[in-house]
Every structure is written in C-alpha cells, then in structure tokens.
Symmetry: C2
Subunit: 424 residues, 2 copies
Amino acid sequence: MSIKLDLTTAGNPDLSGYQALVTQIHQKIQSKTGTGSDYLGWSTWPFDYDKTEFNKVKALAKTIQEKAEVLVVCGIGGSYLGTRAALEMIQGLYPSRKLDIVFLGNTFSSTYIVQALDRIKDKNVYVNVISKSGTTTETAMAFRLLKQFLETKYGKEEAKKRIIATTDKARGTLKTFADKEGYATLTIPDDIGGRYSVLTSVGLLPIAAAGIDIDAMMEGAKQAANDCMSDDLETNTAYQYAVMRRLLEKEGKSVELLVSYESQMAMVAEWWKQLFGESEGKENKGLFPASVNFSTDLHSMGQFVQEGKKILFETLLLVKKPMLDMTFPEDIDNLDSMNYLSGKTLSEVNLAAMKGTLIAHHDEAGIPNMILTLDDFSAKSFGYMAQWFFTACGMSVYMLNVNPFNQPGVEVYKKNMFKLLGKI
Amino acid sequence: MSIKLDLTTAGNPDLSGYQALVTQIHQKIQSKTGTGSDYLGWSTWPFDYDKTEFNKVKALAKTIQEKAEVLVVCGIGGSYLGTRAALEMIQGLYPSRKLDIVFLGNTFSSTYIVQALDRIKDKNVYVNVISKSGTTTETAMAFRLLKQFLETKYGKEEAKKRIIATTDKARGTLKTFADKEGYATLTIPDDIGGRYSVLTSVGLLPIAAAGIDIDAMMEGAKQAANDCMSDDLETNTAYQYAVMRRLLEKEGKSVELLVSYESQMAMVAEWWKQLFGESEGKENKGLFPASVNFSTDLHSMGQFVQEGKKILFETLLLVKKPMLDMTFPEDIDNLDSMNYLSGKTLSEVNLAAMKGTLIAHHDEAGIPNMILTLDDFSAKSFGYMAQWFFTACGMSVYMLNVNPFNQPGVEVYKKNMFKLLGKI
C-alpha cells in the first residue's frame, strides 16, 4: 500500500534546496504550533481517533443496513464531498449495493430538492444530518423538510429513531436540537475542519452504511500517516508533491488540472478541489484547482490542454488495479475493424490511452505532468489517499505562508445573503 | 424567449470600438467564407434542417418510447455531452420519465463499462450508436460489446431492429457497417462539427426518446438565430458576450468560470466547456473554461473565487423560472431557528444566495461578472441557448484569429495510443 509519485515528466528537479523549509514546516505540523494549529487534528487522527465513537458508527451503520432502503445524507462541502468521493471511488457509479444513498442539504436548487424528496417518498428512509453548528442554511432547510417528511410518514416517535445527527460534541443549534428530540448523535472533532473530515464520523457513518470496510479505511490512513512521518524530501512523497506544486507555480503555471482515467474518480477530484482550493485560495494566492476525467474529457477539454494557453500543469491520479475488468471480444465479421484489440482487457486499452496522452501532453505539448499512482480502489487505498493528500496540502499551503485550515472567504456570501433574507 | 445579458457587474465597457471587427467577422459567418467555413452549417441549421430526417427522428423516438425500458446512447464528446446536457437541464437529475438512459462509448474505464452492462442486462434495451466515422475507439469498442449483448439476448435479427446508427450520410466504417447489417440510420450533416451538433439527429433522437418536445427545441433555436441576425453590437447579446470575453482576457483574466445555481445545469456547463475550450484552445491561445455549481460549490471553490489568485472572471448562467418549486414550511418548535424563511419559496432563497454571492464576488472581491439570464428550463429555452452559444462562440473565437471549427489537438493522443496498441 502506497502512493507512488513519478516526477520524471514534471522536469524531475532537484528538490533538496527546499529541505530546510520543509523541515521547519514539518516540525510546526508535528508539534501542532503555527497558524491554524487548532485544526491540526487530522495529522494524528489515524492513531488517536476515538474507538468508542468508531464502534458507535459501526452499530448505527448496521441498523441502517438492516432497516433502510434509502439513506439521505444531508450535508454540504466537507460534509458531502468526501463521502460521495469514497462511495463512488470504492463502489463505482452503478454500485451493486442495496441501499440507495441520496444527497440533500447541499443546494438551494428547488428542482433538485423537490425531485429528491419525490424519489424517496415511497421508500423506507433514514436520515443522517451533518453540520458542526447546525446553522448552515442549505443543510438546515433540507433537514427541516426531511424531518417533516419522516414525521408525516412514520409519526413523531418513529421519525426520531430514523435520524442521526453528526455534529459538535457539546454546543450549537444542531446539538441542542438533537438532544431535545432524542436523536442518536455522532461527533465532529473540534480540531478537524470540514474538508479534512472524511475519516471522522462525518464520512464514516454513510460510508459504513454503504457496506464499505471502515476498519480497512482507517488502516490505510494510518499507513499513510506513518509513511509521511519523516520530513525527508527524498522519501516523503506527500512533501515532494507539495513542493512540486509550488515550483510549477513559480514557473508561471496558475491552474493545476487533476487528471483521472476512471469514471468513478470524478468525485474524488471534486473533493480534492475543495481540499486544495479552500486551503490555499487566500490573500490573492493559490493554484486554481480544476479536473478532467480522461479519456471522456479528451473529447472536450483535450484540445485546450494540447494546444491552448500554457497556464496549466497536470497531476495524474492513476490507479493500478481496476475494480472490474473484461476482455475485449473477437468478432468474426470485424465490420468495425476493431479486431486488433481483441484479447486485450479494457484496462489495457485505458492504459495505452493514458500513455499516449502523456506523450502528447508532456513530450509534444511541453506540459509538466506529475504522476501519482494508487494501488487499487479499495477502502484502504481511499484512506491512504485521503491522509496523504491532507499531509501534502498542509505542507504545500504552509509554503505559501497561508493558513491552510480556515476559510474566511466562505462567510462573505453568507453575510450578504442573510441580509437579503432578513435574518437578524 | 430570449437570453438577457447584463454587463453592469462586468465593468459595463463601451464596446462600440469593436463594431467594425464584429461586422467583418459577422459577414464572414453569414456568407460562409473564411477559415473553417466548411463547418458553418450550424449558423443556418434552425432554418434549413432536413424535415424528412426530423420526422424520421420522431418516428424512431416513438418506437423507442413504446418498446424500450433502457436506451443506451453510445457516443463521446459532442455525441454525448449535448444530449446529456439537454436531458438534465430539461428534466432534472431525478427525472420522472419511464425510459432509463445510459451513456456508454464515452470512456475506456473498465469498471464503468462492466457496471453499465450489468445495469441493463435484465432490461428491454435499444441502442443508439453515434459516430461520424465509426472509428472513434471508445465508441466502437462499446458498440461491439452492446451489439454482442443484444445478439445474445435477442438473436441476430431482433438485435438489428434495436440498433439505430447516427452517422455520416454516405461514407465511413459505421455507415458501411450499418447498411450491411440493416440498421436504421440517421445522418450527421457534413457541415456541422461534433460540438455544434446537439440540434441535429445526434442529440435529437435521444432527446425526443426521453419525451422532450424537439419541435419546441428547434423553434427556440430558430428564434435565437433570428435574434442574432444583426451585426449590431448594441442589440446582439451573443456578440456582446463574445466581445466581453476577449476584453476580460485582455485585462489579464485567463479562466472563465461558468456559474449556475441549479444542480440540473452542471452538464450544460460541461457541454459549454467543450464548445468553447475545443473551439479556441489553439495556437497557445484561449480562456481556460471551468465551471461551478453554486451554492453547492461555494462550500468548496467559493473560498478561492473570493480570495484566491485573481485570474478569473465569472459568467453567470441564470434561469428565471425554476422547473419545480416549493414553499419552506413553518415549524412550531423552531429548534433550527429557520422560521425566518418560512413562507418563502426555495427559489426565492436561491435567488438571495445568488445576489449575496454576486455582491461578495463582484463588489467585494472585484471579480467581473457577466450575467446571462434564460427564461426557463423548457426545451425551447435549451434550443435558444444552444444556438446563442454557437453564435457567440463563432464570433469570440474568430476574434482570436483562430479557426473555431477544427480540433487538430485531439488527434495527438490518438496517434500515440494507436501506436501503443499496434493499430496499423
């Protein structure tokens, strides 16, 4: 289990000049000092997460699996993206599991909300509402609609048994609400921010309810935390990636394009965009995070990458072993002239597309390409990847001299919106 | 029916200095002269599309609606994105229609392909394969798998009745293939490229099969073509948008961020990214096209937009009338403190989020915002929007002195891939 990082097609520069800076930041992270250090909980989480809480997650997940046809996950941002990324990466876009998982609380879009409520109306439904404060408007509105839906359908008492609130351990609107109503509650740790929270109860409950092995996921995270323990730039791939991003930025790149070659990785890219964009997009700094899913998007964004304005570099997020595969069959008539691929697996062809694209983009168009390779689509790999990206992100953003753990800019639209809505 | 364009929050510059250039390009487009003019068919398409073909589309769509549980749309790029954009925009993400539509032929991802084939295996299936040449690898591979699936399930004769090939009118691998097998065929016009093809049989068959009114769609397109007939920059909003993009680029912006506030617009943004990115990403030129879906992505990309590196401008694609709506209910206990929103519709709250964000991004962060407003989510509006964007794209890219209608860069990865796969 590891993430391999290949910098050959990214110029393969000597990074040793950054060792002193990396060591200095590494010590700040390890000792939990420095800007934003109140939110460094993720750095030791795979070692010190609360095992009692973890078992509570498993028990609740089991109840949901036994009793529900639909689990509604009601949350936004970090309370939405990590879960969806894990589900899709580990189980694919057309998963075979019985439990339908519907996301709400992540939009004001009236059509989406009405259609989602309609989709679940005749089903056996459980709800997991996720909000640290309980005042996030999108989530609070959807939760009220879901609560009334459950109460109408099941009555007030039964509805209470079908709601699980993941929230602050002691304070806040949702915690008070949940205690008063008697919902089961799970805890969002004080020292882990939304975009770093997928390995806490925030992500673990819906992920476990989907039938995914969360023990393996935490095991993967622990392995990544161990692998990233050293500040040595020769061996710590997360730090190599962190430094390379800054180097490419210095060379004038302003967009980082996360590239995957499997459809089930699209939401991982969305999760990654929040992690990096929200961590470093401050003080007029940061790389603009964008993503594509090849080969699909080679037929839309491929032209721009190949010949458009040279403002980007690519970070390939590859996965060695596909979740499912098949051999491309022979056809006697060969009317489509595709027999030259017969006997090859689809994943072999996908690999050739990746290699051909790498030559096109790097060798021919001169676009720097970093290559990250994961072992497989397992829960363990997801956990490893999440922890590895947290570590890389913390380092990379600290190198910009920016607090990687706050998000002051997210409040600005809210303030204006509340004013327009007459909230006192 | 119209697209309103508000440039107030984009600096509202005097565009009249560009009138002469716009007039010159306009004449080139109208007279179908100039670079790439072989592919200017879209400019008069809403007036001169083939009515016999159109009726054939309707008849085939009716057969699919009557007989199929699943329609597999097998295509990539322009043979995929436009259809999916129309379906989602007009019918939402959880549509109430009976026909399930599954996309294949748009990826080499083995897990996606295996899972999609598994999803349809016990269903009553029709297939629409879409490829001008028939040699696009992703599509040809998936089509062979689908053909063998249908033949195994239904026998060779019945399988033939369940396949519709949308392809070149006379030449190419797929046309020859289809004629030999006796498939029903539809025609991709010679003078309309992939990313401009959603209003041809490419998009119209699956869109009509989904139960969408394609007469209304073409009517909308016709109205847009009429509205864009004049070269007057005072009145032609498509040309205003085209010019503003170039102005903002000159001011140093390198990313155009298409912003929508309804979940069902996410694929329209993907379609738009192909249209603009593939049209202008040439000769080291072009704006990098990116997209966000607010308010969802305010909780991921919002921080970067608000306070990150100032490399982008926003193009808001708003829709005045929501497809579905509901009133936010009162709650006696008000434990969530959300009663201040009771009696408001969800779309009113969404509008407040939009206005609050506009103030945050434009007034407070200084980010230029162009605002496009569509009337509604109807088929007619989709048709209008598609034709309007084609017109804007043609103008905007010609202003860069680039051919808007070719895509030489897309061939590079293919060439390398074929070499790796041993294709002769």
